[in-house]
C-alpha cells in the first residue's frame, strides 16, 4: 500500500514539478558526459602526448565534479525541502489517520528512491547519447580525425554518476526523514496557514543599507578596475569580499528601498495591481535575499567563466602559429652553453637524418643590463605574471643580427637590416597587447641608453617567432654582431654567452620525425644523469595547447552550465512554491473582479522581476569583471570579446529564459487549476 501511495505521489509531483525533474535529469546527463571524456578518445586519432593530456583532463574533471556535485547536492536537498514543506499538511493527514512516523518516512523514502531512479535513468540515458556528440567536439579541439564512429559507453563515468547521485539522494532521504520525525502534528497542519514573518524594516535602515551596498559595490568596482586581476593577492580577495558583501546588502535592502520610493509616486503605485506586485516581490525578496544573492553571484561566475573561457580558447587558437616557427628546438640550461649538436653526435644521433638544415647559435647576456633597464615596471609585471617568470632583475638576452638573419633565412623570410647603432626588440609571443606596449614605450623616445651609450630603437617589435621558445619569456634584443662579439667570435667586454640553441625543421613526415627524435633522445634522460639541454617539438606544443584549450573549454562549459542551471532552478522552484503558497491571494483578486489578463500580467511581472533582478546585478558585475579579464587575456593574445559575450548571452537567454518561461507557465497553470478545484 505504501508503494502505491508513493507511486501516486510521485506521479503527481512529476506533473507539478516537472521542471525540477528535468533539471535533475539534465544535471545527471551533464555529469555523465563530462566524466566520460577519456572513454570518448577511442573514436579519435591522437598522439601519445595528447593521450596524456586527456588523462590529466579526466583527472581535473574528477576534481571539478566533486565541486559540481556539492552544488547540485545543495540544489537537490533544498528543492526537496521546498517539496516537503508544500506537503506538510498531507503528511499531517497520514499521521492523523494513525500512520506511524516511520511508515510516513518510508513513503518518503520510496518516493525519493523513485524520483532518484527516474531522473538517474533518464539523465544517464540522455548522457550516453550526448557524450557521442561531445566526442566530435573533442576531436575538433585536438584537431584530430575521427577514426570512425563507435558507440561509446563509459562504465567508469556511469558508476561514478550512480555513486555521486546515490549519495546525494541518501542525504535527501535522511533530510526528509528528519523533517518528519522532528515535526509535531500541529506544526504539520498549521504549516500552510503560517505566514512567513513579515520582515518589517525601518525605512531609514533600508535606505542606509541600500546606500551602503552601492558604496561597497562602487568601491569594489573601482578598485578592481584600477588593480586588475593579474595578481591573486589579498587586495583582490578584499575586492571580491567587498563585492560579495555589497551584493548581499543590495538584495537585503533593494526591495524595501524601491517600495518606499515607489510609494511616493502614488499615480504609479496605486495603478492596476502594481502595489500588489511590489508587495509580493518585497516579501519574497525579504525572505529569500540570501539565496537571490547566491544566484546573482553564480550567474556572475557563469557569465565570467563562459565568456572568458571561450575567449581564452580563441586566444590560444592564434597563439600556436605565432609561438614557434620551427618543428624542433633544443636549448641548454644551467649557464654552460656547450654545443648541442656535438653532444647529439656523441650520442650517435645524426641530425642530418632528421633535417637538411639545422642551425645552432648562442645568446649573450650582460649582468649590467637587466630587464628593468629596458622595460617599464608594469610591462615587467605583465611579463612576470603571464609567464610566471621569476626575477624581474634577471638579465635580458642579446642575439646577434647574423644569427637572427640565418634563422629568418631558414624560414624563407625577408632579412632584417639594422642601421649602425640601432637595436631591435624581439618578442614573438601571442600577446599583441604587450608587443604594442613595448613598441609604444620605445617609439616615443626612439632612443635607448645601454651602458652609457645611446642606441636608436628599430620601430617595430620583431615577432617572427624564430627565436627559440625555450628562451625565457621570448623577450630578446637583436643587435648588430659587433656589439656582442669581435671578429674572432670572442664575446665583447661585459658580455658572456648564456645559452645554446639548436633549431630546425624536420624533413619528410614531420610529426613522425619529431616523435622519432624524441624517442631516440629520451633514454638519455635518467635518474642519474641527463643532457644539459631540453627538446621541444611542435608535437609537444600542439598537444599542450590543445590540452589547455580542452581543459579551459570543458571546465568552463561544465561549471558554467551547472551554475546557470542551478541558479535558474533555484529561482524557479522558489517562485513556483511561492505561487502555490499564495494562490489564495490570487483567488481573492479574481473574486473581487481582477480578470485573467490582469492576473496573468501580475504573475508575469512578478516572475520577470524575480528572474531579472539577480541577472541584472550579475550583468553589471560582469561588465566590470570582463573589462578586467579582457585586459588580462589580451596580454595572452587577442580576444574577440564581443563574440564570446554574444555566445554566452545566447546560452543564458536559452537556459535562463527557458526556466523563466516554464516557471511563468507553471505558475499560471497552478492558479487556473486551483480556481477549477476551488
Amino acid at each position: 500500500m505504501y508503494c502505491k501511495l508513493a507511486f501516486r505521489n510521485v506521479k503527481k509531483s512529476l506533473r507539478d514539478y516537472l521542471l525540477y525533474f528535468l533539471t535533475l535529469s539534465f544535471a545527471v546527463c551533464i555529469f555523465y558526459v563530462f566524466n566520460s571524456i577519456e572513454a570518448q578518445s577511442v573514436m579519435i586519432k591522437i598522439s601519445t602526448s595528447e593521450k596524456e593530456i586527456l588523462k590529466t583532463l579526466t583527472q581535473l574533471m574528477g576534481i571539478v565534479s566533486v565541486f559540481v556535485s556539492i552544488i547540485l547536492g545543495f540544489l537537490i536537498v533544498s528543492a526537496n525541502h521546498f517539496l516537503i514543506r508544500r506537503r506538510k499538511k498531507e503528511l499531517g493527514i497520514y499521521l492523523l489517520l494513525g500512520m506511524k512516523k516511520n511508515k510516513v518516512s518510508r513513503i518518503l523514502v520510496i518516493e525519493t528512491l523513485l524520483i532518484g531512479v527516474i531522473s538517474l535513468g533518464a539523465g544517464l540515458f540522455a548522457g550516453v547519447f550526448a557524450s557521442q556528440w561531445l566526442s566530435i567536439f573533442t576531436a575538433k579541439i585536438f584537431q584530430a580525425d575521427m577514426t570512425g564512429y563507435r558507440f561509446v559507453f563509459s562504465s567508469g563515468a556511469f558508476l561514478k554518476t550512480l555513486i555521486y547521485f546515490g549519495v546525494i539522494f541518501l542525504v535527501v532521504i535522511a533530510a526528509s526523514t528528519f523533517a518528519v520525525s522532528r515535526n509535531k502534528l500541529i506544526d504539520l497542519f498549521s504549516a500552510q496557514s503560517k505566514n512567513e514573518k513579515p520582515a518589517v524594516k525601518h525605512p531609514a535602515l533600508t535606505i542606509v543599507l541600500f546606500v551602503l551596498s552601492v558604496i561597497c559595490l562602487g568601491v569594489a568596482y573601482q578598485q578592481v578596475l584600477q588593480n586588475g586581476i593579474m595578481h591573486f593577492d589579498w587586495i583582490l580577495l578584499r575586492e571580491v569580499i567587498l563585492g560579495a558583501i555589497g551584493t548581499f546588502l543590495f538584495f537585503a535592502s533593494l526591495s524595501g528601498f524601491f517600495l518606499k520610493l515607489l510609494q511616493r509616486i502614488q499615480g504609479y503605485y496605486f495603478k492596476d495591481l502594481n502595489f500588489f506586485i511590489l508587495r509580493q516581490i518585497n516579501s519574497r525578496i525579504n525572505s529569500a535575499h540570501v539565496s537571490i544573492s547566491f544566484v546573482c553571484l553564480m550567474l556572475f561566475c557563469t557569465i565570467g567563466i563562459l565568456s572568458t573561457g571561450l575567449g581564452m580558447n580563441a586566444a590560444m587558437e592564434k597563439s600556436l602559429s605565432s609561438a614557434t616557427a620551427f618543428d624542433v628546438e633544443l636549448y641548454t640550461w644551467g649557464g654552460n652553453p656547450t654545443s648541442i649538436s656535438d653532444d647529439l653526435a656523441a650520442k650517435g644521433i645524426n641530425l642530418s637524418d632528421y633535417s637538411d638544415r639545422t642551425y645552432e647559435y648562442k645568446d649573450f647576456v650582460n649582468p649590467a643590463i637587466l630587464r628593468n633597464t629596458v622595460l617599464t615596471e608594469d610591462l615587467q609585471l605583465q611579463l612576470q605574471t603571464t609567464y610566471f617568470m621569476n626575477g624581474i632583475e634577471s638579465t635580458i638576452p642579446f642575439i646577434r643580427l647574423s644569427d637572427y638573419n640565418t634563422l629568418l633565412g631558414m624560414q624563407g623570410r625577408d632579412l632584417l637590416s639594422l642601421k649602425d647603432g640601432e637595436i631591435a626588440f624581439s618578442y614573438s609571443s601571442t600577446s599583441q597587447g604587450l608587443r604594442d606596449a613595448i613598441a609604444e614605450k620605445w617609439n616615443r623616445t626612439g632612443k635607448i641608453s645601454l651602458l652609457g651609450q645611446e642606441y636608436s630603437v628599430y620601430p617595430k617589435v620583431l615577432s617572427d617567432a624564430v627565436v627559440s621558445i625555450g628562451e625565457d619569456c621570448n623577450l630578446a634584443l637583436v643587435v648588430p654582431d659587433s656589439l656582442l662579439t669581435d671578429s674572432t667570435g670572442a664575446p665583447a667586454v661585459g658580455f658572456s654567452p648564456s645559452q645554446s640553441y639548436l633549431q630546425f625543421n624536420c624533413q619528410g613526415d614531420s610529426e613522425t620525425m619529431q616523435d622519432k627524435l624524441e624517442s631516440r633522445l629520451m633514454p638519455f634522460y635518467t635518474e642519474e644523469s641527463s643532457p644539459n639541454y631540453y627538446m621541444i617539438s611542435r608535437n609537444n606544443l600542439e598537444a599542450s595547447y590543445a590540452g589547455t584549450k580542452a581543459i579551459i573549454a570543458y571546465v568552463g562549459i561544465y561549471i558554467g552550465l551547472v551554475f546557470l542551471m542551478t541558479s535558474a532552478a533555484v529561482l524557479s522552484l522558489q517562485q513556483l512554491s511561492e505561487i502555490a503558497d499564495n494562490r489564495q491571494r490570487y483567488l481573492v483578486l479574481k473574486k473581487i473582479g481582477a480578470d485573467d489578463r490582469l492576473i496573468d500580467r501580475a504573475i508575469f511581472r512578478q516572475t520577470a522581476i524575480y528572474f531579472m533582478l539577480p541577472l541584472f546585478l550579475a550583468i553589471i558585475h560582469s561588465i566590470v569583471g570582463l573589462t578586467v579579464a579582457n585586459e588580462a587575456i589580451r596580454s595572452l593574445g587577442g580576444l574577440n570579446a564581443a563574440q564570446n559575450i554574444l555566445i554566452t548571452a545566447g546560452l543564458i537567454l536559452v537556459i535562463y529564459g527557458g526556466y523563466f518561461l516554464a516557471t511563468f507557465i507553471g505558475s499560471r497553470k497552478m492558479i487556473v487549476r486551483e480556481e477549477r478545484n476551488g
Partner: protein, 255 residues
C-alpha cells in the same frame, strides 16, 4: 423601488447521470434595492452554492439570475470579471485580506483594478474607512489588527467600489461575539446610511436577526421566508429560532 436581484427557477446539478446531486432545485426569489436579506440553511442546504451562482463564481445549470437588469448567466468570462468588479462587493468568512498589503491597500484594491484615478481612490478609501471606524488602522497590516478590525476592513473593501450589491458569505463565522456584533452593526449602518443592498449567507440566527428579510433554504429548495417588518430585533430572533427548529436538521447545529 426596483428589483436589484431576480432569481428565476435556478437549478444547479453536480455529478453525472448515475450520481446526481441537486444543489439547487428550482429556486426563485427577488431582492429589492436597499434591502438587507439573509439566506439561512443547514450545511449542505445549497446556500453557499446559491451565493456562488449569484456572485458569478459558479455557473447555474438552468434558470436565470438577473442583477441590476442584466442576466449574468449569459455573460462571457471577460464580462463576468468586469461585472464582479463594478457591480458586486464581497465579504468572506475568513476575511481574505491580502496579508502583504496594509488595510488601506486592501481596501483600495477593487478601485485600482477598475482603473479608478488614484486621487479619487484614496479619497474614497478614507471615506469608507471613516464610515466603518477603521481610519486609525489604515496603515497597519492585517496581522497587526484584531479579528473585528480585519472583518471591517474586508467590509470596507466590499463597498468601496459602490457595488450594486454586497454579497457576504458567513461574515461572522470567524469572529467572537463582540466583533460579530460590531461588524453586523456596521453592515446595518451600510444598509441604512449608504442604502447598500446586502445579501448575507449565514447559519447563525443572531447574525441573521440583523437582516430585514430572511430566506430559508433546505435541500436546494426555498423553504420559508421571514420578514422583520417593524418588529424589534429580539422578537425577530425568536422567530428565526422557531423556523430553524422547523428546518429540523439544523437544531443540533444551532444548539
Amino acid at each position: 423601488m426596483s428589483n436589484m436581484l431576480t432569481v428565476t427557477q435556478v437549478e444547479k446539478y453536480y455529478g453525472n447521470k448515475g450520481n446526481l446531486t441537486k444543489a439547487l432545485d428550482g429556486v426563485s426569489f427577488s431582492i429589492q434595492e436597499g434591502e438587507f436579506v439573509g439566506i439561512m440553511g443547514a450545511s449542505g442546504s445549497g446556500k453557499t452554492t446559491l451565493l456562488n451562482c449569484i456572485s458569478t463564481i459558479d455557473k447555474v445549470t438552468s434558470g436565470q439570475i438577473i442583477i441590476g437588469g442584466k442576466d449574468i448567466t449569459e455573460l462571457k468570462s471577460r464580462q463576468l470579471s468586469e461585472f464582479r468588479r463594478t457591480k458586486l462587493g464581497f465579504i468572506f468568512q475568513d476575511f481574505n485580506l491580502l496579508d502583504t498589503l496594509t488595510a488601506q491597500e486592501n481596501i483600495i484594491l477593487p478601485l485600482t483594478i477598475s482603473a479608478v484615478n488614484h486621487r479619487e481612490a484614496i479619497a474614497r478609501t478614507a471615506e469608507v474607512a471613516e464610515t466603518l471606524g477603521i481610519t486609525d488602522v489604515l496603515a497597519k497590516y492585517p496581522y497587526q489588527m484584531s479579528g473585528g478590525q480585519r472583518q471591517r476592513v474586508a467590509a470596507a473593501r466590499a463597498i468601496v467600489s459602490k457595488p450594486a450589491m454586497v454579497l457576504a458569505d458567513e461574515p461572522t463565522g470567524a469572529l467572537d461575539s463582540k466583533s460579530s456584533r460590531m461588524l453586523l452593526e456596521s453592515m446595518e449602518k451600510l444598509n441604512v446610511d449608504l442604502t447598500a443592498t446586502i445579501l448575507m449567507v449565514t447559519h447563525d440566527a443572531f447574525a441573521a436577526s440583523y437582516c430585514k428579510r430572511i430566506l430559508f433554504i433546505k435541500d436546494g429548495q426555498l423553504f420559508n421566508e421571514l420578514i422583520r417588518g417593524q418588529h424589534p430585533r429580539r422578537d425577530f430572533y425568536s422567530k428565526i429560532i422557531e423556523v430553524i427548529s422547523l428546518l429540523g436538521g439544523d437544531v443540533s447545529h444551532v444548539l
